[in-house]
Amino acid sequence: MNDNSGCPGSKMQDLRKTATAVEEAPGKVKSQLQQWPIQLHLVSPVAPYFQGTDVLLTADCVGYALGSFHPDYLKGKSIAIACPKLDEGQEEYIEKIKSWLDNAKINTLTIMIMQVPCCRGLLNLAQEASRQAQRKVPIKAVVVGIQGDILSEEWL
């Protein structure tokens, strides 16, 4: 199997030992998802659940890497997911983010990305949309490590 060692975003890494090293307390973690659909191409930016709310725009991989994603980050927010590396039609993403700001009048935008370099593209999309939008909101960037740790969390 090719380990794609040239690209940090697709380089093969075996995390089985660290992933199972700590046993979590048993019990179900309640889903905090409050809408459907969630893929950015599929959502309407002016859907009722985006109006005036705190929005989470997250790279596809984040939800799988971050163990506490639902209670710590998704809770209380509306969401859209996207992959800045593989998704096509990303100019439409900029228009949708602009519409969140100008039409849905969202309260805040939190961008969650993985630490791999290609994920920065999602942050760049959001910043470009914010530059083009008439209305500004606080934007926060959260970078998640591939082992599910929060590497940084800051307001832009």
């Binding site: 705190d54 209380g76 927010k77 969202i106 309260n107 805040t108 939190t110 909101v137 606080p138 926060k140 940084s152 969390e153 800051e154 307001w155 832009l156």
Partner: protein, 274 residues
């Protein structure tokens, strides 16, 4: 057994920090080594436990600081250091949230004014109408920009997100009242054309604001940022924009005024003329 031995370190964390410093002056050195400036604070009525939390030391530094305090308060005794009462998140990067950054940015213009004050005092002229008009303009900057526009954002909006009985907020509010009292005295002195009283109050205002802004930029706003939720940050940002739409149109006028003062009093040309 003395009263000191009857008290535990936890009891001391609930005491006023100035009282602790008065009782154990060496505590000041421990606080200073972590850049915690309680010694120079005008009021210093914060509780020891609040100071530890507000300054957001790392858990390791917090443990070392507590041990250092314990060695001074209970010399020669083994003292159990209470577990951290930290309720807030650790600092997230070095930046402020957008609404806090807005307040820090507004401080920049006020700091430029404070930097001009010594030379402004040197050039005070109450004998001519143009001299008195310049003083009136400076007082208007303090009242309209620094107080009505900037401090009002804090008092009418920001502080409402917190318990206003917290000592740190009481201290900030007391600073605002102190500044207002200085302005009242300056206005009264201007009526009497009393240059000395205007100068004394300007000097006191400059000293007060220098400390005040440092407290807010370095301690208060960062502590508030750690305690605000993402949702609250968005709401604050929106409320501040509302204030800017209502009162911010005069900001360019005040920026121009401060530039004019800098040119007149502190620019190279002004210094060469002296």
């Amino acid at each position: 057994m003395t009263q000191q031995l009857e008290l535990t370190l936890t009891d001391y964390t609930n005491k006023n920090i100035k009282d602790i410093i008065r009782e154990f002056p060496a505590v000041a050195d421990v606080l200073n080594s972590y850049n915690i400036g309680c010694v120079s604070c005008g009021l210093g009525t914060c509780l020891f436990k609040d100071i530890v939390q507000i300054h957001a030391l790392s858990p390791e530094d917090e443990a070392v600081l507590m041990s250092g305090m314990a060695r001074i308060i209970f010399p020669g005794r083994e003292v159990a250091v209470p577990a951290s009462q930290r309720k807030t998140r650790p600092p997230a990067g070095g930046g402020y949230s957008p609404p806090m950054k807005k307040l820090v940015d507004e401080h920049r213009l006020i700091k430029r004014w404070v930097a001009v004050i010594p030379a402004f005092i040197g050039g005070l002229d109450v004998s001519t109408e143009s001299g008195r008009e310049l003083i009136r303009e400076a007082i208007d900057f303090i009242r309209s920009y620094a107080d009505k526009y900037h401090h009002a954002k804090e008092e009418a909006i920001l502080f409402k997100y917190f318990d206003e009985n917290l000592e740190i907020i009481k201290i900030i509010l007391a600073d605002h009242e102190n500044a207002r009292a200085r302005v009242r005295e300056m206005l009264a002195a201007l009526e009497r054309r009393d240059k000395e009283i205007i100068a004394a109050n300007l000097k006191a205002y400059a000293d007060l604001l220098t400390e005040h802004i440092k407290k807010e930029d370095e301690v208060l706003y960062r502590w508030m940022d750690r305690n605000l939720t993402t949702h609250q940050v968005g709401n604050l940002f929106s409320q501040f924009q509302g204030t800017d739409e209502e009162l911010g149109s005069a900001t360019p006028k005040y920026e121009e005024f401060i530039s004019k003062l800098e040119k007149k009093f502190t620019s190279k040309e002004a210094q060469n003329e002296r």
